[in-house]
Symmetry: C3
Subunit: 362 residues, 3 copies
Amino acid sequence: MACLSCLLEYGTVKIIVIRNKAVGSVFRLIQFLIILYVIGYVCVVRKSYQVKDSVISTVTTKVKGTGFTNISGLGAHVWDVADYNIPPEGESSFFVLTNMIITPNQMQSSCPESQAKNVSFTKYFDLPVFDQLNASGHITLLKGIQTGLCVNYSETVKTCEVLSWCPLEIDTDLPENPLLAAAENFTVLIKNTVTYPKFNFHKRNILPDVNSSYLKQCEFNRITDPHCPIFRLKDMVAEAEEDFQTMATRGGVLGILIDWSCDLDFPEHYCGPKYSFCRMDNKNPENNVAPGYNFRFAKYYKTTDDVETRTLIKSYGIRFDVIVFGTAGKFNIVPTIVNVGAALTILGLVSPVKSAVLGLGV
Amino acid sequence: MACLSCLLEYGTVKIIVIRNKAVGSVFRLIQFLIILYVIGYVCVVRKSYQVKDSVISTVTTKVKGTGFTNISGLGAHVWDVADYNIPPEGESSFFVLTNMIITPNQMQSSCPESQAKNVSFTKYFDLPVFDQLNASGHITLLKGIQTGLCVNYSETVKTCEVLSWCPLEIDTDLPENPLLAAAENFTVLIKNTVTYPKFNFHKRNILPDVNSSYLKQCEFNRITDPHCPIFRLKDMVAEAEEDFQTMATRGGVLGILIDWSCDLDFPEHYCGPKYSFCRMDNKNPENNVAPGYNFRFAKYYKTTDDVETRTLIKSYGIRFDVIVFGTAGKFNIVPTIVNVGAALTILGLVSPVKSAVLGLGV
Amino acid sequence: MACLSCLLEYGTVKIIVIRNKAVGSVFRLIQFLIILYVIGYVCVVRKSYQVKDSVISTVTTKVKGTGFTNISGLGAHVWDVADYNIPPEGESSFFVLTNMIITPNQMQSSCPESQAKNVSFTKYFDLPVFDQLNASGHITLLKGIQTGLCVNYSETVKTCEVLSWCPLEIDTDLPENPLLAAAENFTVLIKNTVTYPKFNFHKRNILPDVNSSYLKQCEFNRITDPHCPIFRLKDMVAEAEEDFQTMATRGGVLGILIDWSCDLDFPEHYCGPKYSFCRMDNKNPENNVAPGYNFRFAKYYKTTDDVETRTLIKSYGIRFDVIVFGTAGKFNIVPTIVNVGAALTILGLVSPVKSAVLGLGV
């Protein structure tokens, strides 16, 4: 009975009420600022009362368009998606070939190494000298295994002979304008499905109120068609404040950012993809070793004599990386208590601080 | 000495003890509910006393199986992994070809454009009309560069001639049943290693208590073999509540979700992969532009006259995306203090609230 | 006026000051420990006063180097990047071929299945027996579609005939030393651009104080060149405490971890890439089904009779996964209030606890 009585009593602190207009008004002002902060910043701006979840996303892409080149020695050539999209998979990162250096009919044999840029090879030199140069890092042109011979590269120049895919690629004369300039008018359809697993929320970038006939002929435009999932390559590059033809010449990486940030407490708010575009690699020529984006690939053939030949293509182009990000937030009691509790603690501190100032406290 | 004395004294608030059974029991009830919430929800359900880390993961995959097709004009053909897995790398996202439209022996030349579906071309028409139609977006069939001529497409139809890879692909007659129906019995071995860097925790999806002979012949089954890392494609699609043959006809994307959520405070708890499967693309035909999943690739050959030919394959199939996620939690003093501190603040508020109710407070 | 007066008054609790050296010193010690914890651990170690952001990153890679093999039956062969980098794209995950089993001149036809390892086929057996063995899972060698015939595999052995790409691959005799041993001296240039969107922070792994001529010949070394973005494959494998030649024989996955953790409150602190390397797959042979990393790909050719042939390559090699991670932190008022508030709550608890101990409280 004594115990029960003990349980049912409770303590409250004894409060001394002070009537001092100056101290009181400062005290209320500070309280007001803290409450303003809690409501304004913690709740409205940062939404700290919500629990958050990160997006899980799937992207498929499909490029459309046909280009035409007329390269000397190769003749007229029409390029379709199977030719310029390498490797040919509709993943979240896709590559569109825009410029290239083609070295056809390479075969495993021996041929003279091409001339180094910054070293004079005009007279016959002995191999150890070359090896020294090479070891010192000044010549990095070696594209094969040295046979130990020096042979005529041109009438006036002798270079080392190498075992390699011959003839060697001469990658110094990249076309100044992209060969596949028509790539700027190619379009890409991006299909993106997102999930917020904590909230069991699923959505697509093809919004439910969009109909099929619209989708067949629409094209993304930030003003007139912000929900169309079909993008013209030129427009995306322009949105990133780059020039397509300039970027296409040496290649680059363009980020297609899809922001799925959503406030799920307000279903009437727009919760859909927000597209933005930015160049991901550095276009700045200073300090820029190997600028742009390129890689080499080869198509392999066999001659009638069963000898393997290949066409080596140093391909420059734009890699488009679809990057999906975003967090969704929904009201939850835990972060609310944590944030309100902390704010109230600070609020409670005002009183002792004032007491200390007035010399009434400890 | 005065200073030391000052340091060693301390203040405690003066508590007034009130014995009121009604107020006291309400007060104790509220305290009880808050403590229940702190223990039950914050600690047990949400584990807010833990610091969290996100998973870093590596996945390799290896598909096994052999299929057989007998396509008219191409003859019997056995498909192994090098044929149907495109591109051929064992990454976390892999593609299995199940259906296709093959256009063999394409060559760069000129040929009549295929007939547009919704426009009648039965009479000879002049090119500007076609260009108008094309500009209005109604015809999107152009698969090459127009030569400016109109030629016989069939006995009754004339269409525009284009420079392209000829003959053009006719992609309207996709086989109704997947050509590589046997793909449902292919299996895939998924090797997944995860790391939680904050906790220096490493684990594989091949659990340490599993022996090698078991792994050579096991097959994942949610009931009988939940730890086997070898999955039959059919079973994974069935777990996602889809029909393999239906999905294989037009292609799709299947997510293989591996959940590595772990509570590292309890080493006796199961901390291993939890597999689930779901279809990631939209199978719903409404609003579904370009449903399914397909892409085009080509195999390039050279004739004896050194002319390039190719076999174009519009390949439909299932892309499997292995998505590894999860957070691990471990007790840490910082989140504990933050959460307990906040909860205690709320607890401390009960007393002033009650005081205010009774008119004893400010 | 009464209301205003009410607003401008404030309450402060009545404090009883107790002078007890023993209790006082324990009380001050606990306070000191809590303040030490708040300043030392919460602020300095965990930086809980900061708001955090996760990195968004783009990676391009470019491998350089030439290797040479002399495989019996294939002759001397020089390998360049287009040959050994499969698929040939400079993405964040790239593969370098180091060892292989080549099966040239495969054609769609029928041939005897290769001999199973653990089953004796020395006498002519009837097919149902084989099917039973097969169904029981003991034979998993079937690499084609059975024709129903049993034919001579060698002089003493008969096996089942299969329709397949013939001759079948014999993948049991993997070279003990990697064929492309020279791969250890290949180098890779990694270009990595990161963004912290919350703080509008952008940076590259090629630091601004590095000049172009240095980049042309530098090579990463943890001591002498920690900022060079060009890595020798051998060095990366050695940093992961593995032997390149051993790893190259059966293949593997090497993680190139780039840590971009930054404290943006102190711009004078180093905020740049911190490289580390670790093997991501399990090298341990126990419980290791299909150890290492390999996949099959094929190069397709056509004979003069228009028959498709292929060279199947079971390729072993090292997949390098560039994994970029990191969080940046910057001072923000919300987490500061949450953490300080919580710590102060705990601090405030010391007084009641002491009171309770002394029998002065409830």
